[in-house]
Amino acid sequence: MNPLTDTETLPSPDVDETAANPVAGIDQTRGDFKYDVAYEFDAGTGLNEKTIDYISDVKKEAAWIREFRHAALKTFRAKPMPTHWATRDLENIDFDKIRYYLAQGQKPKRTWDEVPDDIKKTFERLGIPEQERKYLAGVEAQFDSEAAYSNIKEIVSRQGVIFVNSTEGLREHPELFRKWFGKVIPTGDNKFSALNSAVFSGGSFIYVPKGVKVAQPLQAYFRINAENFGQFERTLIIADEGSEVTYMEGCTAPKFSTSTLHSAVVELVALKGAKIQYITVQNWANNVFNLVTKRGLAHEEAEIKWIDCNIGSRLTMKYPGVVLKGRKARGEVISIALANDGQHQDTGAKMIHAADETTSNVISKSISVGQGRATYRGQIHIPKHLKGCKNNTECDALLINTNSRTDTYPAITVRGDDNYVQHEASVSKVNEEMIFYMQQRGLTEGQAMSLAVNGFINDLARQFPMEYSVELKRLIDLEMEGSVG
């Protein structure tokens, strides 16, 4: 059985509604439903055809998009939760108690001065405008369902680079985006890609013309602000022949007593000889269900690299993948996951080799602290008729106390004699002697833990851009500080 795809149609698992449900606090009574005065647009609580029409109306979408959404809702309903391989914690998501669309307006502002004060303050606290000035080619800042701010440096837009949100992308540039939209990740790929396809809003649509190398990264920042809310951004990046682009995304949400759902779909298309690097540093509050589908399509001699760092959330399920469609295409996934108390990081990578001489590399490091649980799921597929394909997979897990748990489910299907696969896995513990050694040099137990963890991921952290690796270190320090009793 393939643990990564959710294609089997099983009867819905019996869910005992009265069972202790830690998420039961979500918007408990219908009477409690109210407009948050700050939101001009609100699709209400729960999901049905009207929710979709509301979103489509607000966005003034073309008929085909509306139909696409409605078809996706049917697929979403038809698909069972993938609890035959994934955690049963998924059953605690109550789709009827989530708000699917919240926005203050549809059109992102081009200058920070136009952004409403409270939203502007949020992003200023997160340091986004400052980073934009310093080292970014363009920024999109999404607040709940829509981008509040979106801008691209003139020098980049003059090169013909398009960097807009999904609504704008589909409306203004259908000739570019419609061709690939929903093609790398079809609606029915899994239950959550279907959900996203039904209610998607926000995210980035990027087109980099032939031969254009975007020197500085483009960045999106996804902020969840509202309670009982689902964020469903949709991103599509198309790098035309010989072009290069780096995209970075950061995600945060404040901590609420109730659960929040984040379910994105990210599709990358690297045409012949193009290079896409996609970097994620997410730091969700530990009540967020983060269920994201990310996949890239690499054409001949193209290169797609996912650098993925997962900190926080209650449950993250994310397996970035690359379909290596053209000869000599390269795919890479570099992944760091930190599962603290009460968190489950279920992450991994998929590499689908579909042409000769394609190569892929997967390096995953996970850290489990306290009751935290880290799961690695990998899928490497190299069919028999291919020649000269290579995969290297390394997964290392670090356990920080005896209660933490780590599982590895590598699924490697390699056929044919002319292909080469290498797999290494290790599990290690931060041992007490190491911590004592560091304490003897004056570090507190928390500082010692933090340093041990930073050391463990050091070789991967170095692949992050400088600003992000600093942020990564800071986040790990914060996480480890709280983990020492």
Partner: protein
């Protein structure tokens, strides 16, 4: 002037009493050597002073400059000026010596105070020059894949950078090769001075050919059974530990 006063110290590991009433005072500028046969509690003494969680102090006290340190965590003791050179130092994968020492120096600053990186590196390189350590050394991960000699060099460099008031050198291992011995000896001799007290734990007299102690103590069965000047080490070498054991047997009979 600093002093470490060990008073009637009893240390158990698990249920077993290992150190059984040991008293010793180490002052600044002094080098005390503690010698004794294997299994007599020398390494346990070192660990107990540093605050290893396996050690239970059942009786007695350890006082640094008039303050009992027994209630302090290992890191507090370290910041107060106790340094333990480990017999078997741990590897810290992925953490360079330079970053490790930087974190250790940072930990000594007040909350909110940021280490001056330029001054830190200046100081690090000065210490490395003093100890004749190659500049490339500190970019390696702490003890990872180090030879015995490199581990010792790393310990000595840390000691030089952290400037303890009292250094406890656990060199009990009889397996130390001559290079490693020389590294420890050269390091201690270089760092020796009026502001540092050293407790040098060793099994063999050999190390004392390179580090001339001010005082020599012979440890047996969890306590100090003989103390003297540097000549005691030579006498011990000549007569062997059986001499001490015999004396001890007569004394306790």
């Amino acid at each position: 002037m600093s002093s470490l006063v060990i008073q009637d110290l009893h240390v158990a590991i698990g249920e077993k009493e290992i150190v059984k009433g040991l008293s010793l005072t180490i002052g600044s500028g002094e080098v005390h050597a503690v010698m004794g046969p294997n299994g007599t509690g020398k390494s346990t003494l070192a660990k107990a002073i540093a605050g290893h969680p396996d050690c239970t102090i059942t009786k007695g006290d350890v006082i640094l400059d008039g303050v009992s340190i027994l209630e302090q965590e290992a890191d507090e003791r370290a910041r107060a000026g106790i340094f333990l050179a480990f017999q078997y130092p741990s590897e810290i994968p992925g953490v360079s010596i330079a970053n490790f020492l930087r974190a250790a120096r940072q930990a000594r600053l007040a909350e909110g105070e940021e280490l001056d990186a330029t001054a830190y590196y200046k100081r690090l390189y000065a210490r490395m020059d003093l100890l004749k350590i190659d500049r490339k050394f500190t970019s390696r991960a702490v003890n990872e894949g180090f030879s015995g000699g490199e581990k010792k060099r790393c310990e000595i460099l840390q000691m030089a950078m952290l400037e303890p008031r009292i250094a406890v050198m656990d060199e009990t291992d009889s397996g130390l090769d001559i290079d490693a011995l020389r590294i420890v000896a050269d390091g201690v001799n270089t760092l020796r001075g009026p502001n540092l007290g050293v407790l040098l734990i060793t099994h063999y007299q050999r190390l004392l050919e390179y580090i001339v102690p001010d005082f020599v103590h012979v440890m047996y069965d969890g306590r100090i059974v003989k103390s003297g000047g540097k000549d005691l080490a030579l006498e011990l070498e000549a007569k062997g530990y059986d001499w001490v054991k015999k004396d001890f047997a007569t004394a306790t009979a």
